[in-house]
Assembly symmetry: C2
Homo-oligomer: 437 residues x 2
Amino acid sequence: MNIRFYNAKILTMNGDMPVFDGELWTEDSRIIYVGDGSNLDEYYKRTGRSAIIWGREIDCKGNLIMPGFKNCHTHSAMTFLRSHADDLPLQDWLNNQVFPYEAKLSPQDIFEFTRIAILEYLTGGITEIMEMYLTPGSIAKCCQEMGMRVTQVGGVNNFSQSPELIDKRMEELNGKNDLTSFRVGFHAEYTCSLELLKKIADLSHKYKSPVFTHIQETKSETDGCIERYGKTPVALFNDLGMFDYGGAGYHLVWTNDEDRLIMKEKHVSVVTNPGSNSKLASGIAPISEYLNDGIPVAIGTDGPASNNCLDMFREMFLVTALAKLKTNDASAVPATEVLKMATYNGAHVMCTPDADCLAEGKLADIIMMDMNQPNMQPVWNIENNIVYSGSKSDIMMTMIAGVIRYDTFDGFQRFNVGKEVPDIYRDCEVIKKRIFG
Amino acid sequence: MNIRFYNAKILTMNGDMPVFDGELWTEDSRIIYVGDGSNLDEYYKRTGRSAIIWGREIDCKGNLIMPGFKNCHTHSAMTFLRSHADDLPLQDWLNNQVFPYEAKLSPQDIFEFTRIAILEYLTGGITEIMEMYLTPGSIAKCCQEMGMRVTQVGGVNNFSQSPELIDKRMEELNGKNDLTSFRVGFHAEYTCSLELLKKIADLSHKYKSPVFTHIQETKSETDGCIERYGKTPVALFNDLGMFDYGGAGYHLVWTNDEDRLIMKEKHVSVVTNPGSNSKLASGIAPISEYLNDGIPVAIGTDGPASNNCLDMFREMFLVTALAKLKTNDASAVPATEVLKMATYNGAHVMCTPDADCLAEGKLADIIMMDMNQPNMQPVWNIENNIVYSGSKSDIMMTMIAGVIRYDTFDGFQRFNVGKEVPDIYRDCEVIKKRIFG
């Protein structure tokens, strides 16, 4: 089907292209045209198309079309624990409030609670997530059913999953459909033996796959690794050949100059999670230093039990606000950089470069933002408005792979996710009662 | 008129009362009943009422009724500079991007740009603001016209306004209507001569009024005062008798033990502004220490040029997130404390104790929050959901003084503020063009 968005302001995130007034056309899952609507003869001639028969034409009424947000680190189904236990020290929280309940979750339970998170992603303009959780099979099924783009990563550690299972999932969960993929990953250094880490490095070589994991989230985790191995997790992983095909580290709060040299050299990106790092008192990541060193930064919400919301607007503000506090410099990490992290960089970190910006041939992962909300007025600078005063209440539409999965065009929230919202909540309540009694 | 809210979840913020299922009734500007709807015979007997004829009955469908948020520090009309210049060092920003343009604003310009801020307050469930800006007369008029509750404070300094003007406004802007009031205030120590400060202290004695001002926002401001007077602003103001009737300080980021002793003794509250303090790299206020010392804390957004959004949900998360980071303690400043700051404490700081909670006889400053948004699901703990995953996209209604000023009951946003929203934006664009050319 062909969809035409016209009368739009367009922020492509394609290089430094400024916001312009124009149109965007989609065909099935791809963008086939972005421009100001002039010189269409040239377009038709170049593409060999004739006049297009529109399946739908949407008058954007001057509102903004831009790439969807990329949430590069989450554990979606942890919605089941949202607000169950907050304001606790990290280890107490993990050992007493998370692990015992997670152990009771079935793949189907995880499927259902992932649904709540996906509803939240859609209302917040998130079109793609990088997921690490317990049952990738049921999560892939859920994302396909609801239309969410997802790159899953393994979460193997000493207590659950195995390199053999990751290997199997690399075969099973890749190449099956356009929305979901799977990459080599593991939980973290402090939960994996050296033997296990070596096997994971072997896997990344076998598949020539980048590797994804939690790295240097807390000071004690980092110090513990130095005690165990005489080096930081970044250095240890590098010595094991883990980064020979690049990858990304979630959190990376506690890094030193040597870590950053390795990351730069081995194309290891940062996925920063400022909401979670604050709520769990883990620290402030050195974002300014990553930018100075030319290390790409993307953004994640982390899971809904440690954040607790899945809102890239909150995260975007926190990225720059915390960087400003950390460096005592109000000019640190400007809004344009943050917006690039939340969109363009996120797509590249998730190995889906076709979702990085709005351009001919790119994936139609697109959102519409309401320019007539008071928090977006007046209009001096749309990028700054998005980062500093934007809110998910401005999201009017979330389209993934050319399908509108969420919109508020006629006032009401309309979800297009294969199941009614009240039914999703009801089924999750039933599971909650079963698990917690 | 009598309005009945039924089928609601109710969070009164009245002591430790837990959320319950029930009803809330209003009559004109006041609440006349809050309860579970049982034992109404006793109610009618006690109050001498007979059966009430409802002007409107609203089925809350299980959604949450709670007191509106109190934004205790703002400069509303600075919407005119939102996103005009971000990511700049504080003094550069103030001297080159703020003061030259502010000087061109007429009272009517300020009236119009205050409107945009009030629209934003309403969409975010804010029912009351403490305002410091240039033309209190036109601001009071705007708030009355749009139905916003406001406590204004003087902003006198060496360059504008005068103690005589504050005196005049104390007479002119108090006792005229129920929505607006005016209190003694000044800009800050570093912009006022000692002679001026003494006159302000005299005024507070004349009116037995608490005093409000920016205090110890930045380290350099605090150090500068110590250089000038051999003491901090808090100590200086106290020595001048400025706090003999209490008051509150905006920001209070850089305080020491002695400052906090004075604040405790003289009933000086803190209005913390974490969004602004982060964006301008001013620092993190010692909120845990204020709580430990028993000093009341309320929350403000600060103005929309330094934050840039007027969203108490963002501020609530920041209050606890930054406190956790500052103290390296994930249990610091729990959600229940934050919610009290944003509602109950705010009302007391603004000298409107009748707006502090939902109870018989209190002001009908009430909001409704959507419990069926995915970020509010599942329901383990409603208070924690509000602080950690709540969003202004959850706001379904904002009522001030018994009048519904904003709602989304039938999907669309409906404002009841005396002027159409597109006209407000259009008129502000005209002013913007005139001022900036």
